[in-house]
Symmetry: C2
Subunit: 113 residues, 2 copies
């Protein structure tokens, strides 16, 4: 994340799952996509993103497979599993709840509009 240290530890998996829920993607691409889709606000260093992908794969929330470009360049494409989709739904619920809690504590000082 691009913030002062770790303001939002724990959101990264949800972000990754959410992006992958729109279609398979490989690590590097995913990193760029996260930045772009979040309006350059969210950003995961590779030292964060790749280990996170390994972790999500180990938990069977995503599945990876090697592919090669026409020029023999290898990429590992990840797709979300059905277990991952369930997890994502759960995480979205949690985020929503958290958001509600923060809103109660901080008031509308937190919301953009």
């Amino acid at each position: 994340m691009k913030f002062e240290s770790q303001l939002l530890k724990g959101v990264a998996p949800a972000v990754v799952l959410q992006i992958l829920s729109r279609g398979p993607m490989y690590g590097y691409e995913l990193g760029k996509e996260i930045e772009q889709r979040s309006g350059e606000i969210l950003s995961l260093g590779k030292g964060t993103l790749y280990p996170l992908l390994y972790n999500l794969e180990a938990k069977r929330l995503i599945r990876g497979r090697w592919e090669k470009t026409s020029s023999d360049r290898k990429r590992r494409y990840y797709s979300i599993t059905s277990k991952g989709k369930e997890q994502l739904a759960s995480q979205r619920g949690q985020l929503k709840e958290l958001n509600a809690g923060l809103k109660l504590v901080f008031g509308r000082a937190l919301m953009p509009a």
Copy 2:
């Protein structure tokens, strides 16, 4: 936090500073207040809250002083410092920005209303 593990690591200091910005409070009271003010959504175990308070005090964001109740019971009251207020303003800004980023990624699926 009451969530599945640590969805929102890093928010705890901001929450504590925010609550303390309304007036001095001691640890135990603060814990209860966080739960109440967040509609029972947010919750910090004492193993989280007290070390966090020591840490914030070491950083001079809050200041603690011992007081006694009429019945000789000791409590450590914490108040936010001016440095803490600055930090809080900054953290609020970050939270707001983060919120904007998450909204972009997740769409209105995240927002309650």
